[in-house]
Point group: C2
């Protein structure tokens, strides 16, 4: 124990980590989560309200495109709503981390949940992106025609809503990174 | 301060962490990475060799589907190859972690890289999955017909190769989790 104490003190003199050094990290974590809320909420609303009806129609068919014609877009809205709710729910925990730099279990929990949310959000955003790409470019070997010439506004709306979602993905990666740094940083320094 | 010190000793006596307790975690990390190599390699090869030529053809057109007709499938192969190479490259580091439980900087680095690879792999796998879904079901509002009736083998090959990739996603999530646990666990205990 005493040797450990000396070693620890030796470390401390070499690398002076000020007490409460996780505060900055935690504040940045909070800010990033707020950005993530904005991104995912914006993406979900933009995609969820995305609809276009063409100005011409036949007696039988009315040309109309809306997000829930596409399973991937439905998944996109669903996933963005979930991640947005998740961000809102973790705000209190993030505030607790600002005040209590020592918290360890809750940080691990957050890293795990963040990672799962990252996988979830990336899957939704990429599935939607691949459909948007197909709508723009079509595919000749399967004879899927590009539909963005007809549904221009719809395509633009869908493309735009991807931005918020990919922004939130970057936020999640940064938040995991900050969590790992904070975890590695509090080797009983605060207890000295 | 002294109160914190007392708290800490209380914690230590309550939860006895044996020296080198990260060894099991590191071994599991290594095993998971090997599973990840198998999954991503299998997925990349299965998709990369996926091709089907229909037995009928006209004088001008030969009906043929192969993976690189689809941008999402190309991305899928590319991403799986990258993640496979990444897994191979991190094997030595993982072995080092088994021997040196204390390693901290390299663990943080691994968590960050794992997270980026997770986002990359998930995006590739989901983009491919959304195309596979479309090939199976089609989409009526854009008049994209399901092509799996014609290209049955091609569709089956593409669906199958998704499995390896999604397995590797689970592996990455577990590996990040193990990394976070290992990081949080070595509070100078090994110096005793």
């Amino acid at each position: 124990m005493s040797k450990a104490g000396r070693l620890e003190e030796g470390d401390a003199s070499k690398v002076p980590v000020p007490v409460g050094s996780n505060k900055g990290v935690s504040v940045m974590d909070l800010v990033l989560r707020l950005v993530g809320i904005a991104g995912t909420l914006g993406a979900a609303i933009a995609m969820g309200t995305n609809e276009q009806t063409l100005p011409f129609f036949t007696r039988f068919v009315r040309f109309n495109a809306q997000y829930d014609d596409f399973t991937s877009f439905r998944l996109f809205v669903f996933v963005n709503a979930i991640v947005c709710a998740y961000f809102v729910l973790t705000i209190p925990l993030s505030i607790v981390h600002i005040m209590r730099s020592v918290a360890r279990g809750s940080r691990i929990l957050l890293i795990i949940l963040d990672t799962i949310m990252l996988a979830l959000l990336t899957s939704g955003a990429s599935a939607a992106a691949s459909i948007v790409y197909l709508a723009h470019n079509g595919n000749s070997s399967t004879n899927w025609l590009p539909v963005c010439q007809q549904y221009g506004d719809f395509c633009q709306g869908a493309s735009g809503s991807l931005i918020g979602s990919f922004g939130a993905i970057v936020v999640l990666i940064l938040v995991i990174l900050l969590g790992a740094i904070a975890l590695s940083r509090h080797p009983k320094r605060v207890h000295l």
